[in-house]
Symmetry: C3
Subunit: 264 residues, 3 copies
Amino acid sequence: MDTTFLQQAFSDSQVLTVPWSIDYFSVIVGVLTGALFACDRKLDIIGTVVLGLLTGYGGGIIRDVLLQDHGVYFTSHPDLILICIAICAFVFYFRGLFRHLDATVFFADALSVGLFALAGASKAFSLEQGFVLSVILGAITAVGGGAVRDICVGETPGIFQQSNFYAVAGLGGSLAFVILAYGGSPLPLAGVACVFVVVFLRYWSVYFDWKTRNEADLTPHVARGVGKVKRVVSGVFLHGGDATVAQKERRRRGRWRRSREKRD
Amino acid sequence: MDTTFLQQAFSDSQVLTVPWSIDYFSVIVGVLTGALFACDRKLDIIGTVVLGLLTGYGGGIIRDVLLQDHGVYFTSHPDLILICIAICAFVFYFRGLFRHLDATVFFADALSVGLFALAGASKAFSLEQGFVLSVILGAITAVGGGAVRDICVGETPGIFQQSNFYAVAGLGGSLAFVILAYGGSPLPLAGVACVFVVVFLRYWSVYFDWKTRNEADLTPHVARGVGKVKRVVSGVFLHGGDATVAQKERRRRGRWRRSREKRD
Amino acid sequence: MDTTFLQQAFSDSQVLTVPWSIDYFSVIVGVLTGALFACDRKLDIIGTVVLGLLTGYGGGIIRDVLLQDHGVYFTSHPDLILICIAICAFVFYFRGLFRHLDATVFFADALSVGLFALAGASKAFSLEQGFVLSVILGAITAVGGGAVRDICVGETPGIFQQSNFYAVAGLGGSLAFVILAYGGSPLPLAGVACVFVVVFLRYWSVYFDWKTRNEADLTPHVARGVGKVKRVVSGVFLHGGDATVAQKERRRRGRWRRSREKRD
């Protein structure tokens, strides 16, 4: 973290210059998780490198293509690509080294999702894309790479399914950044908040095993509620406010029918 | 439908200004069908929103990326995105409400495919992309979103498989628009024809259960045909036009061989 | 091959003008292989055409979108699109004709991968994208179409899995072109070398059945190596260079322990 970054924290600049080392870190961690994923699917070295690069760069590529702003991040840092390919090759040949680093990989991944959300949201914010698009582009940058990776091996992306918060965390961090940025907070502060929210939500959801729901049809509940409201309203208007009259009548008929059925 | 639209019908303008309400309608219906699709696959709220947006915007995004014309429709209407997210959330929480609306959803979907084909073909036409590309971009806009949706959950897109006309309908409508537009017809008329053709083809194919074929190898038929032609031609040239001589000869030999085989 | 091409071989031009017929040939062969692939998956005519076009144009579209240079090859040659659609339809209706052409299709495919690698690498080179990106964009153009085709039917792309060299061949050809081009060789010569390397690697790998490996964890080997080094080093520093003292000691103890175990 260099002095420019700290100076910015107290200036009025509306463009957040994220130090290149932070961008590099998040891409590298993304590439690492993608390569590990590919190794677990028994892909060859080509598949490992391609899935690694897709996971690390995918979200940014989608963002840049949607913004059509002539600066795809992927093509503007060839040195980073070389580093990433080297990492993928290392993972492919030394998969075993990472078997005992699960906790470390999990933390690095959560951090990198946070930094990706920051990179996406701040880029959209500095290009004045408005509130909604800044939040969405932040979330896409954060988790788009992982979704593309899953689609490329013919699986339904994990973030689309019942799971611990991942896309939700990216969305939360992106939202925090954009709210603070539009609220006039210094951008570096908003950036720190963004990363913090993402990491916090991710750990929180895993710790308490909070999951998104894969089914939540409220129609029956609401239908019952609407039915109740209807009865009350009809009682008020049709029976002069004496709702109980209608209800007693209904219960009486029910009892009479049941007793008749018993006799038969 | 506002007056500008009707005035246009009798002007010479070569750019069709589709009222924004029509664009909004088709995107919203696309989003709705995508969200219903996602609910049926038991995806969570994130998956429902993403698949909904992909279905509604996917075709347009592919068109705009291929045209590279600096105006991705998705990023230029943030208010519509908010509406679409609200619709996806509503579908996710009130899936039950749509169980008895199949016929309505079917009609709305056919209409929206028609309007998408119109939007794609008219944009390509106004950017002077030529006959072929206008038809293709119209068809891509019409059914591209649904294809992307299917690919994202690891399925082969339905439009690639034996099915009732869907892509065929989109292609037909797109073709109708471009033929009429290049034929000098007023663009609004061509637009109405486009939508009509799509809806007509879609209903027609479902009503009569017309399906595209998943296999149609004509080679054996043609081989037989070519064989016949060859015999006739050889007869003409080798036997002085007396084709029957050669045929009789062949039949005689065949009979002789068969009778010999019987005796053995 | 026209005279311009030959003249270029002896000029200093840094832009390789590939004759349009070569581009057309490689796209057409790509489309042909994609259509055959679609027929084998029992897709309908729409699926055959779309997969054909995706295979033929996919790699180029990815390259052009990543370069964002306002000239998507797909949209700039409508006549070629028409030819390709006709080819797809022909393949769909006359699949049987291609059953005995496997060797021809294999050769044409290898050649077209080489020409695609050339087209991608030379375009990136002429846009001065640098060494790394030229190689990568060449490889993406060469095999990206096939990968997109596989993903579209929900399969893990063949090039990601254990297989004969395909992506490796494209990468090798692309690398050969870029090394020669940066080395100052005349571009047409580099182009011929690129195509030759691709075709050679492809045939070579099929002939000797060389395959990429789907698993190659070197960690155990390296761990053993590191252990040996550690012992030698500790011997040097802890036992005054007399490594054998420590080793003998260890062996002696081992023998002693084993003999005791025998007695028990």
